[in-house]
Amino acid sequence: MEIFMMGKYSAHVWSSFGITAVVLIICVLQAHRRHRIVLSDLRVRIKAMESEQ
């Protein structure tokens, strides 16, 4: 338990690591979500174009 206390700085250290983890996860999710959106947008578009032909 004491290991996790980080002296008296537990709030600082853990919040820093926590925020870092959150930001990194956001970046990953954001990047891949955008990709999926662009992909599905394109599918709709191209389907529409092909069916027009």
Partner: protein, 250 residues
Amino acid sequence: MWSFLHKLASPPHFYGLSAKMIPWLYAAGLVAIAYGTVAGLFYAPADEEMNDGFRIIYVHVPAAFISMSAYMVMAVGAGIGLIWRMKLAHAVAAGAAPLGAWFTFLALITGSIWGRPMWGTWWEWGDPRLTSELLMLFLYFGYLALRAAIDDTAKADKASAVLALVGAVNIPIIHFSVEWWTSLHQGSTLLKAGGPGMHPDMLYPLLAMILGFVLLFAALLLARVRTEVLHRERRTRWVRKLIMPAGEAA
């Protein structure tokens, strides 16, 4: 070697190759970060001054490092795109910018948290690194704002490229001027990264974290650039074939 690079510059090849690289980069990055985190948090010896509080550097320094590297990537991509008119280079610049802004934000927050016990406040203008990071965040915002304000992609690419290059020239000047300015401020305290005489048990986790962040950044960058490429090339045949393989649809 050149033909490899040449091939890489072609969007469809890049698209395929990056897809294979991204999982490996994520995996390697995760391993490095896992080691760095565990070793840094639990096994590195405590600092004399800040005891366990110094462990924040294990996220702050990598974040700051990436924030500056991302700008370099952005500026180089912008330069290559502008001079050699490589579409992919512009896509790299566009992909690097939001990531760089995130990491700069992270560096600022962790820097502020680290500074709290040292300075008693959440912000210290007298710290040169923190103030420089803030100005770099503004540079990123300007770049993103300019891109957003121009509708035509090619125009936005070139205009923001000029801005990125002008910013890149100014970054060392900004750092220098902030350092000079804070050296005038009496009693300025610096965010020490432990200095060059760092104990190896402290240093290795830090290097691992930096490496991990680099790998993660590379993966994220490739992911974003892939999306950019897909969007920019949406009217080309290779994208059509990708989305709608022959044999499907009407």
